[in-house]
Symmetry: C2
Subunit: 346 residues, 2 copies
């Protein structure tokens, strides 16, 4: 049974300030030299202390829980964990906007579901088209073009589209406390990865500039690409309308195995789609940190969990309680939610 960060968290809360003063390694050094708080947007309390304690333990040379830097692998879900996911996954918002943008070139869509429903802003008609309809939308908006063309289309959408409630670019709706956590982990010798159900090419258009996560550390769902030499001699990869891999639920441990090839020691998610990733991470020997973001703040963001159609958090919340995983209560634990300024450099 690996040491669970949750139990550490409870201990840390009990011992309070004493724990902070006695925190080993990087944290003690930081305190002694008056270094700034690495997590200023986190309120003091269990989750913040559990993070500081865990990172302190695994980075303390000679300590019982020391983990060599190459094994400091941290994985993060994206939708609902690093950026928002309501009222619909942002990649779905992209696909719907894209159908509308392409509609003039496809007059037949006016009379064909699910496209008709998208163009007429009729979510019921779109939902009625089911999974087959969704795949048609994905095929029409994500396939039949080169990877370079897709990259340009997504970047243009991120530049121009605005979130319906916040009026900000989608890639500015990233969680400031999680940005601080990513930076703190990297400063502590961790390699940070995204492991998300989102499309890998979609996420890579902004992951590096937004999260500081380079493309080779983004794991996601993918479609088949086909290598072709164009008549002008230029090689291209064409995106096909064929799903290759779905990096969600039980697919996440497979994705971690195939792309990363090493079991993470820290995993953060926010939904039942992350449950198996946390289980897989927890099952390794040695210290482990398992975290869930619980969206409890309808004022600053959204409040949803067990009944939500997007980012449902139900079974994983029960397992977190049973196993002592760290549950971040957004309303309680986060001083700020979104980064004050859009992070996007355009």
């Amino acid at each position: 049974m690996p040491v669970q960060a949750g139990s550490v968290s409870r201990r840390a809360m009990l011992s309070g300030v004493a724990t902070l003063v006695a925190a080993p390694g990087i944290l003690r050094a930081g305190a002694a030299e008056g270094r700034a708080d690495p997590l200023p947007s986190w309120n003091e309390g269990g989750p913040k202390q559990a993070i500081l304690d865990f990172v302190g333990r695994v980075t303390t040379s000679g300590g019982h829980d020391f983990v060599p830097p190459p094994e400091r692998v941290a994985v993060f879900d994206n939708d609902g964990t690093l950026w928002a996911e309501q009222p619909v996954y942002f990649q779905v918002a992209f696909a719907l906007d894209r159908v509308k943008a392409l509609a003039p070139a496809h007059p037949e869509w006016k009379d064909t579901q699910p496209f008709k429903g998208v163009i007429e802003n009729d979510p019921k008609a779109v939902a009625a088209a089911g999974e087959k309809g969704l795949l048609q939308i994905v095929a029409a908006t994500h396939a039949g073009m080169t990877t370079a063309e897709f990259d340009a289309v997504v970047k243009e959408w991120l530049r121009t589209a605005r979130h319906p409630r916040f009026g900000r670019p989608y890639d500015s709706l990233v969680y400031q406390p999680m940005l601080e956590l990513l930076g703190f982990l990297r400063a502590s010798g961790f390699k940070t990865f995204i492991v998300s159900g989102g499309g890998v090419e979609f996420m890579r258009t902004f992951a590096e500039r937004t999260y500081g996560i380079p493309p080779e550390q983004v794991v996601g769902s993918s479609g088949v690409t086909k290598f072709e030499i164009r008549p002008d001699g230029q090689p291209v990869l064409v995106k096909e309308a064929k799903v290759e891999f779905v990096d969600d639920g039980a697919g996440k441990p497979s994705g971690i195995n195939r792309f990363i090839g090493r079991r993470p020691i820290l995993a953060f998610g926010n939904s039942d789609g992350d449950q198996q990733m946390l289980e897989w991470t927890a099952a390794g020997a040695g210290p482990r940190f398992l975290g869930l973001v619980h969206h409890t703040d309808g004022e600053r963001e959204y409040a949803y969990d067990r009944q939500s159609h997007v980012g449902q958090l139900d079974k994983a919340l029960d397992e977190a309680a049973e196993r002592g995983w760290v549950v971040v209560d957004v309303a309680r634990d986060w001083k700020s939610v979104f980064s004050a300024e859009p992070r996007t450099n355009r």
Copy 2:
């Protein structure tokens, strides 16, 4: 048309010592401070000079060809490029040895091809079983176990098996000049990746200790894995007898796109299976290095190219000549071939 290292190579050969003295960046600094040759197992000449020149150009701050470190992605084929591949791919040697090791538990194999042929050392019978037979061997030796079990089996094989000609562990038959090149590139801010047709889990058992390439920078072929919770509550990934992705030929650009998500600036291969990887690498803007190892040394290693059944180098050799890619002639360009001592720490 990107600048091709081949043309640089020819220029470098013409200008000789003058080029070395005038080499920019890290190399000039190295020479001035009397640093050791980063490539001591390479004979002086075109390929060595082309490498030194390319690395010097892309690492010279403010220079026309400067490439920021995050974009310094270098990809290497494995079989025949980083370690040997004759008389059969080492992973095939593993599979055949494994059939023999498992044979006592499978008495039916004595009368069933392709297993009968393997047990009786009858390569013609194995070959006659064709692709279907090979898939049966792969299924019997690579599937039906957990990823952890497979890892242990391969490591035990590497520890005990010996190459039929050299009598050394397979993972000691790595090319010393390429180890030096990998180290030199990393010291120059490159991230080094394997992009190979070999199985990704097979290669990861030795890539880190042998090449210094961590598991998350190994791209290869893969089978489907399935997440399961065992009755004792332990989650496992079970390897299934289903091919997921073949990272060879035109699959290599797709593999690079999916796993790395950024176009390399340096690619090294040795066979027609690497041709599309080199084409894809070459097609980016800015400086590029494209290299092929040409196995010309039957005394120290093996001599093979256009007619070989393993590691055939035919079309890619023609394209290299047309486009000025760097062709390493093992007999001429490598002072030593294999590392003097087995690299494996056991």
